[in-house]
């Protein structure tokens, strides 16, 4: 994993009123901030992942070309790098919401880097949830968003399967969570078409699943795993004033140009949920990743999906921006 920097948030008051003492946001920054402080791309991280999971997108000549863009990749609270139960002295780690994560990232970008605008926010899965949150909470800053395989509000079905994973975690520990997760992470079609053949040298279904979802698939501190599940479960861009649960109103507040990219075969975040979101977003396009890789389609898992995602990212970065002022740049 690439070395990361840390932004000290001090005693960070969460939207719930609880405080994370001496909170830290771990991140990496690559590229050079331009004179307008506006060539910024923000890449939030996913459940159980880190900033380095986006390495496939970030670098010279890549979709987030660091010769042109200043790219900040952030770490979710609870992931073990940003403040987490495992790094905290707190006995009861509070619920940290997606909103809290984005507020902390906003402080990093404004206080440390003095950014004036954000050209693009794009993350995968829980990173996509943060992406929607950025667009909704800071519409005057965010010109474009591309949420990959994620939602603006955790669906009830997601909550049910998160609760199943937490039940397995509580009763049996992290080693079992991967096994109960294996059938969710990739799709029916992935397994039907045996797309695992040749991956990680696997020659049997069982060997592939052991390799990818074995005892170390969820190998973090169980408290951290629980904290991230809690963040995911509570995700909802409308769960605050002035929306007070009015989800369509919160989606309408996302004035950024958006390409919302679910995967056709994603069993967590099915395209139907994304279509509902896009219908309320003023400048959004639904662009479904035509993949059998299920949720993993948006995670840099294979060349065809990667090319499809990268093309959308390059396209939106070349397109005029929308912001809350509705002034195309």
């Amino acid at each position: 994993m690439a070395a990361h920097d840390v932004f000290d948030l001090g005693d960070f008051r969460l939207t719930s009123g609880a405080v994370l003492p001496a909170a830290q946001l771990a991140y990496t920054a690559a590229g050079t901030l331009d004179a307008q402080r506006a060539n910024v791309i923000v890449v939030p991280s996913a459940y159980g992942g880190t900033h380095s999971d986006s390495d496939w997108l970030i670098g010279p000549g890549k979709a987030f070309d660091t010769d042109r863009w200043f790219v900040v990749a952030t770490n979710l609270f609870g992931n073990g790098l940003s403040t987490s139960p495992s790094t905290s002295a707190l006995e009861h780690f509070p619920l940290v919401t997606i909103g809290d994560n984005v507020i902390a990232q906003h402080r990093l970008l404004t206080e440390r880097f003095g950014i004036a605008r954000i050209a693009l926010v794009s993350g995968f899965s829980m990173g996509a949830q943060q992406t929607f949150e950025w667009g909704c909470r800071f519409p005057e800053l965010v010109e474009r968003i591309v949420p990959l395989c994620g939602s603006a509000r955790t669906s009830p079905h997601n909550r049910v399967f998160i609760d199943g994973a937490v039940a397995a975690l509580d009763a049996a520990g992290p080693a079992v969570v991967g096994r109960v997760w294996a059938a969710w992470g990739l799709s029916q079609a992935f397994y039907r078409n045996e797309l695992w053949r040749g991956l990680a040298g696997a020659t049997t279904l069982e060997a592939f699943v052991d390799e990818r979802y074995g005892p170390t698939a969820f190998n973090g501190d169980p408290r951290d795993l629980r904290a991230m599940f809690a963040t995911w479960r509570a995700a909802d861009i409308s769960a605050r004033e002035p929306f007070a649960g009015d989800f369509p109103a919160a989606l309408r507040a996302i004035t950024a140009r958006a390409i919302v990219m679910p995967a056709r075969s994603d069993t967590y975040f099915p395209p139907e949920d994304s279509a509902i979101e896009v219908a309320h977003m003023p400048h959004a396009e639904l662009r479904v990743i035509p993949s059998d890789w299920g949720h993993a389609a948006g995670a840099g898992s294979n060349p065809a999906d990667d090319a499809f995602v990268e093309a959308a990212l390059r396209e939106i970065l070349a397109a005029p921006a929308f912001t809350a002022q509705a002034t195309p740049s």
Copy 2:
């Protein structure tokens, strides 16, 4: 549960060569066998269920009208009524396949009842797997089949999620299996559209899930639960001579008139798998249940789906038969 009868199989040799000592097949029979001994409907049971789960279909005036049909509802080995680890003195209960179940049912029907033909076999889920097996193994007897939300061969994706459930069962016991199962049993759309409202008096998502998938959802003997999972995992109509794994050839051997009924939103047995099966079956129609109830759509779960299934059952029972001799009756 209605009282059931028992058919003694004696020391029952499985297709593997192993023997189930003093094996018993539990079943119910309703209606009257006609003079031709040909007005027979067979209804195999599903994972964790019993014959009584088909009560919604069986009775005077119902789809399987016992004023006209002789209806035999059978119990899967391992379900606690037919021979199961919990009823057996065997220390190591052998794998009992779907084929073994159907062979035992065939003995019941021929030895006890002397049936000449079977007008229809129709079961749900693992009952559908037995339905396909009946059509493939005894094409000269079986005139019609309607598999509901099941497959002729367990898909690789099924195997992965069965393994997840078994891992949870082994590590944490039956109480947790329901929780990790909850997100599979009903669909994303079921939860999105809050179809649980009003069911079992539930007023919250959590209360509904607790009620349906709480600690007693998988309340059998863990050994029985494992045995049924093993049967499910191994299901494959082509896993025997003369097919030797040639799945299309085994499907072509199903000469019965068939309506194959997956549910649109079933996450275990998606319609894509059924379409592949139907493409190889000479007299089969694919008829997708247009439901948001996921796998449960075929289980007698709600009036709309029940009516859709019942209409298909009545229709096929009124239609000419096909058998291996290809002589429409």
